[in-house]
């Protein structure tokens, strides 16, 4: 079963991260790289993409003439999707375990970031016969 693990955060949170020291950033990168490697080795990683900074985010709707209408100034408290992992695992428990690992990535001083990870199952296409 496939799950998407979504790392979310606010612009304020991203700003805190930007103030990390070089070695803290490196330690965090090394952690993510190692985790992705482990997930691939385990035959579980389907996809992992980080997203561009929240400042670049736009909300788009269709306008009256069919042209896109964009909106791009968001309040500080708004939660953004920062990146996601898609994993193919044997059980929901395993997906939660991986999410907990993601949330345990090191912040300055090596303490876990404790980032919230939203876990959602991905719809499958398979079905059984209906009565």
């Amino acid at each position: 079963m496939k799950y998407i693990l979504m790392m979310t955060g606010t612009k304020a949170g991203v700003d805190t991260y930007r103030a990390w020291s070089q070695s803290d950033v490196q330690a965090h990168f090394a952690f993510l790289k190692k985790l992705n490697h482990e997930l691939t080795e385990a035959g579980e990683l389907v996809a992992n993409e980080p997203l561009a900074a929240p400042e670049q985010a736009k909300i788009v709707r269709v306008g009256k003439d069919g042209a896109p209408v964009t909106d791009g100034v968001f309040p500080e408290a708004k939660e953004f999707l920062l990146g996601y992992w898609i994993v193919d695992v044997e059980s929901p428990e395993r997906a939660y375990q991986i999410a907990a690992r993601l949330s345990a990535g090191p912040a300055p001083g090596g303490v876990p970031t404790n980032m919230p990870i939203e876990v959602r199952q991905i719809m499958s296409r398979r079905t059984d016969d209906l009565p």
Binding site: M1, K2, T40, E41, A42, G43, E44, L45, V46, A47, D88, E90, Q121, I122, M123, S124, R125, R126, T127, D128, D129, L130, P131
Partner: protein, 407 residues
């Protein structure tokens, strides 16, 4: 040619594993030999003895990789031990070797593996599919699938399973695991037919092909025949199962003229022969239920009392709440919806079904039969919220909408 290669793949792998006693490396070498054949045979023609050709090429790869390993070890250590094992025994006649396909299948579906690993390994080692093809079928990256296969091989090596047929009592048990894996491959592939699912239909075909292989190897096992019959009797309906927009069409509303009669006849013939052996099992019973549906020219001709009797038997043989659920539907068709709804009440206490979308979907269906539309709508919506299958969610939402509009 592709068909020939895939037929030969497990036989070649069996021979090479037997010869070199290294399943993991042999499996890689055989994949390389299959690739070499795909490249060379169209140009140079299929060799007179294709099996021997593949065994020879794979053996050469094995020897080459052993030699390079050996060379590395020599460089690393001055104490290079003289190895007498780098050459394959020359006295083996490839044509005289036994067909190891069954041994391989039993090994690939060994209970030390998770179902997902067993399926991946079976498709590659026995099905002769490439890692890329398997990855595509399961919609995961090739690197991930490669790791899943390689870990599966490592688990088998680590568990010390010998490359030989298990004892008679063990064999029956282990064969069940093979059938279960093939059943999962079939179900995975038996989905709607657009987009990436085209690949997945391929999986259903592959499952049928492998089931045919197993049936040819153990023709006397009625459950193997039962599984093959079940697959054929189910796959026969594939063209009628979805509408133009990929929407699911329930059995009762399918255009039965689209059902594949050749598959139905073959399935029924297999099933009849299997049942005559007098050792009924769960696959034969499920095939028998599928056959009763397939034999009805119109939905209203369905012999529901017969289906109910089969579910009675099946329920006694398996501890599967899904069976109980289907049993309730059959009971409703025979004795009326209130009987079915009564049976569902017992299932509310089953922890395995608590919160399961199927329970809500069946309840909605029976409530609709009973004419309680508001409750039916509510349960269709509950089921739609709970399912993780996209076509089913569309179907359930549509059912709720249809009833709300009073149709």
């Amino acid at each position: 040619m592709e068909y020939l290669l895939r037929e030969l793949a497990p036989q070649v792998l069996g021979a090479v594993t037997r010869r070199f006693r290294d399943f993991a490396a042999a499996e890689d070498a055989v994949q390389e030999a299959l690739m070499a054949a795909v490249l060379q045979w169209p140009r140079e023609g299929i060799p007179e003895n294709p099996r021997g050709w593949l065994i020879q090429v794979a053996s050469r790869r094995m020897t080459d990789s052993w030699r390079s390993d050996e060379a590395r070890r020599r460089r690393e250590s001055t104490l290079a031990a003289e190895s007498s094992q780098t050459e394959p025994p020359a006295d083996l006649d490839p044509e005289m070797e036994p067909d190891d396909t069954l041994t391989l299948l039993l090994m690939c579906c060994h209970p030390v593996l998770t179902p997902a690993s067993a399926i991946a390994l079976t498709l590659r080692a026995v099905g002769g599919l490439t890692t890329a093809e398997i990855a595509k079928a399961f919609l995961v990256p090739e690197a991930t699938m490669a790791q899943r296969i390689s870990r599966a091989k490592q688990s088998i090596m680590a568990s010390g399973v010998p490359f030989q047929l298990p004892t008679r009592e063990d064999r029956a048990q282990r064969l069940r695991a093979v059938l279960h894996a093939l059943y999962l491959i079939f179900n995975e592939g038996y989905t709607s037919s657009a987009g990436p699912q085209i690949q997945r239909l391929e999986l259903a075909r592959e499952a049928i092909r492998l089931a045919r292989t197993v049936h040819a190897l153990v023709p006397d096992d009625p459950e193997v025949a039962g599984l093959l019959a079940l697959m054929l009797l189910t796959a026969a309906r594939r063209a009628a199962r979805t509408g133009p927009d990929e929407e699911l069409i329930p059995l009762t509303r399918q255009d039965r003229t689209l059902w594949a009669q050749n598959e139905i006849s073959e399935g029924i013939a297999l099933l009849t022969a299997a049942l005559s052996k007098g050792s009924v099992g769960v696959y034969q019973l499920q095939a028998a239920i599928a056959a009763v549906h397939d034999e009805a020219a119109r939905a209203e001709d369905t012999d529901w009392p017969q289906i109910l009797a089969l579910y009675d038997l099946l329920e006694r043989m398996s501890d599967n709440p899904m069976v109980t659920l289907n049993h309730a539907v059959a009971a409703a068709m025979v004795h009326g919806p209130s009987r079915g709804l009564e049976l569902l009440q017992a299932l509310d206490r089953d922890a395995r079904l608590a919160g399961h979308h199927r329970l809500a979907a069946v309840r909605a269906h029976l409530l609709e039969m009973a004419g309680d539309y508001p409750a039916a709508i509510a349960h269709y919506r509950i089921a739609a919220d709970r399912t993780t299958s996209l076509p089913e969610r569309h179907y359930l939402i549509t059912q709720a909408a249809r009833l709300s509009e009073g149709k």
